[in-house]
Subunit: 453 residues, 2 copies
């Protein structure tokens, strides 16, 4: 389904904008201005003349320009009338923020909205949704003020969320973690555009490199499976299924009225469609971080390089626990490393460059591993606390990564100094983790996806 | 074993201090000054007169004052002579940073050091260690500059680490995460003070509320088990065992020459001694955060309160997956809540205060759960992105927590705005987590520890 105008529209209308800065329509307008949206915004409200110095139209039909997208934030009872106006004005894409439909038992109104929209060939994101966001165009229909929910920088991760709260909290977190986001979609009641339609669209979207989904249930299982199979051949899909226990399922029913379904059925479907299952939000977050980078591993043999012995051991344990393999360096390369390193360095897996590791030791070790055919992924532990590491380590890692020979994943634990260096690596498209275990689990997701593909 | 002077000495000597700011002794001296250590520092180096405007003694025996602790940072070959000086000067506590002993195969020298120290009744932290730190006195023998490894604020978590790298990285992280630390000990080769001696000491230490241990192996299993059993009756011990797979075990041997032992034996011992096992550094970190607070749960029945439906479902799933129970509110309280809340609020477990939750809804829900005998632990999800929550929520949570009736754990995901509010709660002794799953796992560790005790 072509949903492009939801993200790339040039002329948009906000219907139900108010003078009151707390009201949803006003917040959306404000966000678009503050976020430097470059398109043209048209405001609609029969009872206002001007808001923030901008003219307000009485109705959509008073606008002379063509409108590609309408954001509707009026009380539920007015939605049908606004949709009729959209039909007259030939607006094909609407985001309906308004709530008060099937989620509170008002099935009839929701069905009427769907029938009318279908008849008028209008695509609805919503009803009862948080909105949408595009980090490239800054087209932003989310009704949460920017001071409460900062907007992330442009990047390759797109996020589809059945829950507005989950979506917004994660989106907010991505910003402080320096993730790059392509598109965010909270689809609410999925009145006539559902999770599968959005997945289909994001599969084709050039700006999206990896798709994350928070699902409570799927409306049409067959449709979802068919589309997911197709999309996962093009790019990775990471999904978290909420309501996997009996108790969680009960909560799903109270929450959105969705049939949560048997979790085993979901897991089987995920496997069949090569969807990466995340067991927690944190996992989804970590998997997205690693899968957004596009260097494809040739296999599951991991080489650990470390300047902290203990970290090396914990990581080796984790590699085995997660059913990955520890690489065994080519004899020739082992000898080459031994020749270039002081005796105290331990050549094996982990390669332990020890506490007085210099940046040069890292350079030699990384180069050798990049050239060793027995190594598929390099897991690089860099504890920036040790005194002989200088900041040229960033250049060394970045330049090695730029060769795009093998995935290089970095683990660093620390405080402010570490954080600055981590952010710098992230800016250069390198995945960083704080703890060995989370890095290894993410590598496992990466390797599994490409080995199954 | 009384190790108090390692942390509370007033007069300390640094032996092997140098004019070169990169050298270990110099860094330690510098850290003590920059960290505002209040005691008296005496410098020893036969080849220097003054360093940073401070007089340098030729030898320990030239110092007139009594010295309670010596920090030794001289090449390994000089250590025996310095120890003899310590004997003459009646110094009973020494930290030996110097490396070059059994870790590089020099067993003989290490044995000589042990025998001499035992004869002179000198307790050694080290050899080959990173040093020690006390957040209350700022007595700091760690040789990593403060700009690379920030020192944490005073608090209740003490940390024993066989690996300097693991210890320093975690310590650095605690600072940026606003954890409070009591004592940190990197014990290196455990020449005559081992992990069990330190554990014993921390068990008695009033400033330590929870003990974290990173272990590659234990020197004396029986001694460890006996002491751990005693200490865990007083306060929680969280341990992470490195080298639990065959591959990890090999790495342990290369790292410290410790016999890693069979991991099953360790796990059995942990269970017997009610030591909380952490499967990863992240878990250790999260468990410490929750166990440092001293509110004891009466049982394993968890009540979830949320303003995000999806978060509630994920948390309910996690409670069940982690073998905890979802509380069932007393009928009377259920009715009371229904009366006080708008219809849209879902009273159950989770209690879903929904996206337009006000601070007042939280107040009513928390109060009711605190008074309900079916609830043992309150898991409070607060997504600060939603518009009607104002910052008085902090007062409400803090005041409820101050009653010390039940543990209240908060989950909030977000960016800068969220982080500010989280830190404020942490300052008021409330454990905060980013994701539901990590919070629930930490609650599980908390409940298990007290139910077994």
């Amino acid at each position: 389904m072509d949903l492009n105008k939801f993200f790339k529209a040039k002329n948009i209308a906000i219907v139900g904008v108010s003078k009151d800065p707390k009201k949803v329509g006003h917040v959306i307008f404000r966000n678009l201005i503050d976020g430097s949206f470059r398109g043209n915004i048209f405001l609609v409200n029969p009872n206002a003349y001007q808001i923030l110095n901008k003219h307000v139209y009485k109705s959509l039909n008073d606008i002379q320009n063509e409108i590609e997208l309408a954001i509707i934030a009026v009380p539920a009872k007015f939605v049908l009338n606004i949709l009729k106006d959209c039909g007259k004005k030939k607006i094909e894409n609407v985001v309906i923020i308004s709530s008060g439909f099937k989620e509170i038992g008002n099935e009839k109104l929701e069905n009427d909205v769907r029938e009318l929209a279908d008849k008028l060939k209008i695509k609805i994101i919503g009803v009862n949704c948080l909105g949408t966001f595009d980090a490239y165009t800054k087209l932003d229909s989310m009704f949460i003020p920017r001071y409460r929910l900062k907007r992330p920088k442009p990047g390759g991760i797109s996020f589809i969320s059945q829950s507005g709260a989950v979506g917004s909290a994660i989106l907010d977190l991505t910003t402080s973690q320096n993730y790059g986001i392509s598109k965010f979609i909270s689809y609410g009641n999925a009145t006539n555009v559902d999770e599968s339609d959005i997945l289909d669209y994001l599969g084709e979207d050039k700006e999206t490199k990896v798709i994350c989904m928070y699902l409570e249930g799927v409306r049409d299982g067959k449709k979802f499976l068919k589309i997911a199979k197709k999309v996962s051949k093009i790019k990775p899909i990471i999904a978290i299924k909420a309501g996997i226990t009996e108790e969680g399922t009960k909560a799903v029913i109270s929450h959105t009225g969705t049939l949560a379904g048997n979790s085993q059925v979901y897991y089987a479907a995920f496997k069949q469609a090569n969807i990466i299952n995340a067991d927690s939000l944190e996992e989804m977050f970590n998997f997205a971080r690693i899968l957004e980078k596009t260097i494809i591993p040739k296999g599951d043999k991991i080489q650990i390089i470390t300047n902290g012995g203990g970290y090396g051991i914990l990581t080796a344990d984790s590699v085995i626990k997660n059913n990955l393999k520890l690489a065994k360096l080519d004899k020739k390369n082992e000898l080459l490393l031994k020749k270039q390193m002081p005796d105290i360095v331990i050549i094996g897996n982990p390669i332990d460059l020890v506490g007085d590791a210099t940046t040069e030791r890292y350079r030699v070790a990384i180069e050798t591993c990049l050239n060793d055919n027995n190594v598929d992924v390099i897991l690089l532990i860099v504890l920036y606390q040790t005194p002989l590491i200088d900041t040229t380590i960033l250049d060394i890692i970045t330049e090695a990564n730029d060769l795009k020979k093998k995935p290089i994943i970095v683990v660093s634990t620390g405080g402010e100094f570490t954080d600055v260096l981590k952010r710098s690596l992230e800016d250069n498209n390198i995945a960083n983790f704080t703890f060995p275990d989370e890095a290894v689990k993410a590598v496992k997701a990466l390797v599994d996806y490409y080995m199954r593909k």
